[in-house]
């Protein structure tokens, strides 16, 4: 099995802590994934209009490149990339007419029919490594931590690309494999408001308040996620929500891969707390995890 890795734009800058912690963890686990030598933006959102095929070309090009590399699988970390690549893949697999139009349009690329499997790192870890193997490799299990898994939208909707359609508990299983306690909370699949941060930031603040308070009420010490836009919205709004007494306290927010790197006993240069906000860094200090030199984000 050959696995290609698709990072996506945000992981090279604003979400470097998502990428760095994941790649360092995979290296420590002995899992070989190679970044696609050439990739472009996935388009971030799947085009929903029936007559809009041009916007499918960007994610399909990435899939073609994975196929040309001889890869069976394309693994992603960012939830939005996962969703747009997986949906484009299903379209190319299932819609004969649109597939032909898109393939005919892409004159420089090989024809694509959905040959590559798009997978999120969480399910990839479960299926290729297994939770028991992961447990055996932990050097600093997260014993005593209560972690809320925030799935958001794009990992679970629509149903045909849900990372785990049956139970929707795969991130909770991951948390428990790391030795922490998975905290169920009502808002785990409520949208954070997404790109409405550009047009309706007040609506985003309101829904973020509901999500944070729901996780806090359920007893979570911290929340994990895999989407840089969710991360931005969930971190950015907390100070205002706290001042307006819409949330009881600031909830630390991490990428799932940061917890993985910590539990594997890797250093802060791998889990990159320098890119987290102050509340999250304080939480790590309280749990005796080294935080290195941290230029704190407000």
């Amino acid at each position: 099995m050959k696995v290609s890795y698709y990072p996506g734009c945000t992981l090279k800058t604003k979400a470097k802590h998502l990428e760095d912690s994941a790649l360092a963890s995979l290296a420590a686990l002995g899992v070989d994934v190679r970044e696609l030598p050439r990739w472009n933006c996935c388009g971030a959102v799947h085009s929903l209009a029936d007559d809009d095929l041009i916007h499918h070309v960007a994610p399909v090009r990435d899939l073609v490149r994975a196929m040309d590399e001889g890869s069976d699988r394309l693994v992603t970390l960012c939830s939005m990339c996962y969703n747009s690549l997986a949906r484009a893949n299903l379209l190319m697999r299932n819609d004969e007419v649109k597939r032909k139009t898109i393939n005919d349009f892409m004159t420089e690329e090989n024809d694509y029919h959905g040959e590559v499997e798009v997978e999120h790192l969480i399910t990839f870890l479960r299926d290729t490594l297994g939770w028991d193997n992961l447990r055996a490799k932990l050097k600093a299990p997260l014993t005593g931590m209560k972690i809320a898994s925030y799935y958001g939208c794009t990992l679970v909707r629509p149903k045909d690309v849900a990372i785990e359609p049956a139970s929707g508990r795969v991130i909770n299983e991951f948390v428990e494999a790391l030795g922490a306690r998975a905290v169920d909370f009502g808002a785990s699949t409520v949208c954070c408001g997404s790109y409405q941060v550009l047009a309706h930031p007040d609506s985003v603040t309101e829904v973020v308040g509901r999500i944070i308070q729901s996780a806090t009420d359920a007893g979570a010490d911290a929340l994990i996620l895999s989407c840089p836009l969710c991360e931005y919205n969930l971190v950015k709004n907390q100070e205002e929500l706290l001042q307006k007494q819409k949330i009881a306290r600031r909830l630390p927010v991490f990428y799932f891969s940061q917890l993985l790197a910590m539990a594997l006993g890797l250093g802060p240069e791998s889990y990159r707390p320098d890119m987290n906000d102050a509340a999250s860094v304080e939480f790590l200090k309280s749990k005796n995890f080294p935080v290195g030199s941290t230029a704190i984000r407000p």
């Binding site: 959102v45 629509p158 949208c191 409405q196 309706h200 931005y232």
Partner: protein, 135 residues
Amino acid sequence: MAIEISEKTIKHEFIEKINQLSAQDISMCFQCGTCGGACPMSARMATLPRKIMRMLQLGMEERILELETGWECASCHACTVNCPRGIDLARVMEAVRLLVLRKNINKIEPSRLPAAAVRELPQIALVSGFRKLTS
């Protein structure tokens, strides 16, 4: 306010356009409101999705295109996965947006976003926002 609804006011071409763009059959909706109940943005919505669906069924083109609902949608698909009639409402909202955007109208102006926000926003926020809210 009284609204006149008659065979004369129903814009069948508009209904057909929405059905084509969304690849959905909007006549399937029976206004149960599950969509609005599932919608994370509904708390501040003046007009909930089930009302939009009824207005679409009645071909009320001008009034629908003036409403804010489609622009408040975050395309999270909560309505889609919960609809008991199997309607993909996220696609219907996209169709409503596109009928405005395809007239070269921008809902947000990228050049007017505060520079500080552009610097700190993740790329996927800008790409997805521009895809959904600009022409």
